[in-house]
Subunit: 342 residues, 2 copies
């Protein structure tokens, strides 16, 4: 990847990925270009649809940035099959642009599982990575907590969890400027003897590594920000992440229920609404620019299906940052050292 | 157990279990007796300490309700070892009272793992139960959601998860008056092909059972109350439960952070504090009277270490309800039918 640094960074955006595609994708991409002119945009998707929506939304869009792809992968499509059955889908075409070095990064708000699987298969893995991983920023009291893995693969081995920790450590170090990010293992107790076979074996590997492993933490420690990186398998991580995302709407429900009990309380809640919204704004996932897929041989960022233009913009800027910091090269180097050790 | 119904229900309370023992235990027990006179209390623990605290708190306590036990199991003690090393601990003595039919129920705010392990070993399991389970009430939009298992055992088999679902279905049916409680499997997606090996095999077993199995649900569906019973292994359940319990303090943190930004916002938050507290009161775990340990051959309820007197009171009343509804007998019957089928 390094030789590509001589050229301008090229970021391919899956224009057909999200629930509001291509509108949010176009708006987000335009916003990203306004904030950072130092990259070339490639909007991958149905040219006619993209241009139509741009006209409707009165967005000035240079049609040369569009890379036509006629098909769209739907929620019901089986990810891996779609490589063969929908070779001209925006997802497959976008991933191929990265594979063929025509783009340095790929950003998609499509089905997470599909983007992860297709990116892994088409772009390929970095040497010494067996399982790529998706990590998510988690709002916490320290504001620098990431949960890895949140759903790339279930049924993983301790060795894979170690790989996640290595990739995540570099990601957090480079993108958050934390010299030696702390790594903790999510468990049912802090003591070494707690937990299932998988975490016990993983703890062994982490202790032997040169990562800043601080031991086990519990579910209640995540939001406290006790560790920069929280390691768990994709099954646990995905459930925690989705549970966490459902909390604000449950709070809203509880406030609504309470408001119905008493007109004075209703008025108070009405008056307080805006303050509460502002106070809880750190919970807005759109701020964090999607979740990075680490371990594939190119930059890949995956967004929520419901990504707003703000989310798309932040995903693109995050991809640009990963490019600028030369992360893929750094992953490769770290895993090389690690491979010699094992 | 049924023949015991001729006598008055006897509930043994571990007076030395919680972080504020024996004070909260005494206060909670007295409050329970005020609310329901129809049971006999047995306070298990250090007689002198209990009487001393009762005097300090100016509580009138009949010393005949105290069943002396000289030892206390601490957080650092290994649960199973303590049966031998601390045979006269309040936990071991309390469990033995149930085993020996001198009490119908045992209530403890001691270390969850210790109470579960010691109860299981001493009281024994109901026939056809391989793994007892701890379930927790989860506040949700429907207000009748339970998560099973939340930490009794990690490394479980699909067969155990089926047992949890059978026990939980009877518990929720009898205690919440829901005729056919819905059972869902916690997973990373709703589709049948989603998830790890364990959930796929468990789904198979649940589909074949005569439980009201509604399929997979995701992390975001728990607080929505999409299912009365949410089944997962103790590893996942424990992490979700503790994560959920940490949410209110994180909200408080976010409000405090926001208040510091601006004096007007600070005043607004101050004025709204009480309303918010009331609106979020359904999140108070003390309301739900601990978590039942199901599958042991007697009633066993486990509370938070930090249980308030209100929590202890509700745990005792919940134990009384389980006795009145003859739950152990009903578990036995259900598992008999089920055992013939398999």
């Amino acid at each position: 990847m390094t030789e590509l640094k001589l050229e301008k960074c090229k970021i391919a955006v899956d224009a057909m990925g999200g629930d509001y595609a291509p509108k949010h994708e176009i708006l987000g991409a335009i916003a990203a270009m306004k904030e950072n002119k130092n990259f070339d945009l490639i909007l991958v998707g149905d040219k006619e649809k993209i241009l139509k929506v741009a006209r409707q939304e009165k967005i000035e869009l240079d049609e040369n940035v569009i890379y036509h792809a006629s098909q769209v992968i739907e929620m019901g499509d089986k990810p891996i099959d779609s490589i063969k059955s929908k070779p001209d889908s925006s997802l497959v075409v976008g991933a191929k642009l990265v594979r063929d070095k025509k783009a340095h990064a790929f950003v998609s708000a499509g089905n997470t599982g599909a983007v992860a699987a297709v990116s892994t298969l088409i772009i390929g893995r970095i040497k010494n990575v067996e399982r790529p991983t998706i990590g998510s920023f988690i709002p916490s009291e320290t504001n620098d907590t990431y949960l890895f893995d949140v759903g790339a693969f279930v049924d993983v081995k301790p060795q894979h969890l170690l790989e996640y920790a290595i990739l995540a450590s570099i990601f957090v170090k480079e993108l958050h400027g934390i010299k030696s990010p702390s790594v903790a293992l999510l468990n049912v107790g802090e003591e070494e003897e707690k937990g299932n076979k998988q975490v016990k074996e993983t703890a062994e590997l982490l202790r032997k590594s040169d990562l800043n492993f601080i031991g086990n933490i519990e579910g209640r420690d995540i939001l406290k920000g006790k560790s920069n990186i929280v390691i768990c398998d994709g099954f646990v991580g995905n459930i925690i992440l989705k549970f966490g995302e459902s909390v604000p709407s449950f709070m809203k429900y509880l406030l609504k229920q309470h408001a119905e009990k008493n007109i004075f309380e209703k008025i108070k809640i009405g008056l307080f609404k805006n303050t509460l919204k502002k106070a809880l704004s750190p919970l807005n996932p759109d701020l964090y620019g999607g979740v990075p897929l680490l371990g594939v041989n190119g930059i890949s960022i995956i967004g929520h299906g419901s990504s707003s233009p703000l989310a798309i913009k932040n995903m693109i800027l995050r991809a640009k940052e990963m490019y600028d910091k030369n992360l893929i090269k750094k992953f490769e180097e770290a895993l090389k050292t690690y491979a010699i050790k094992k």
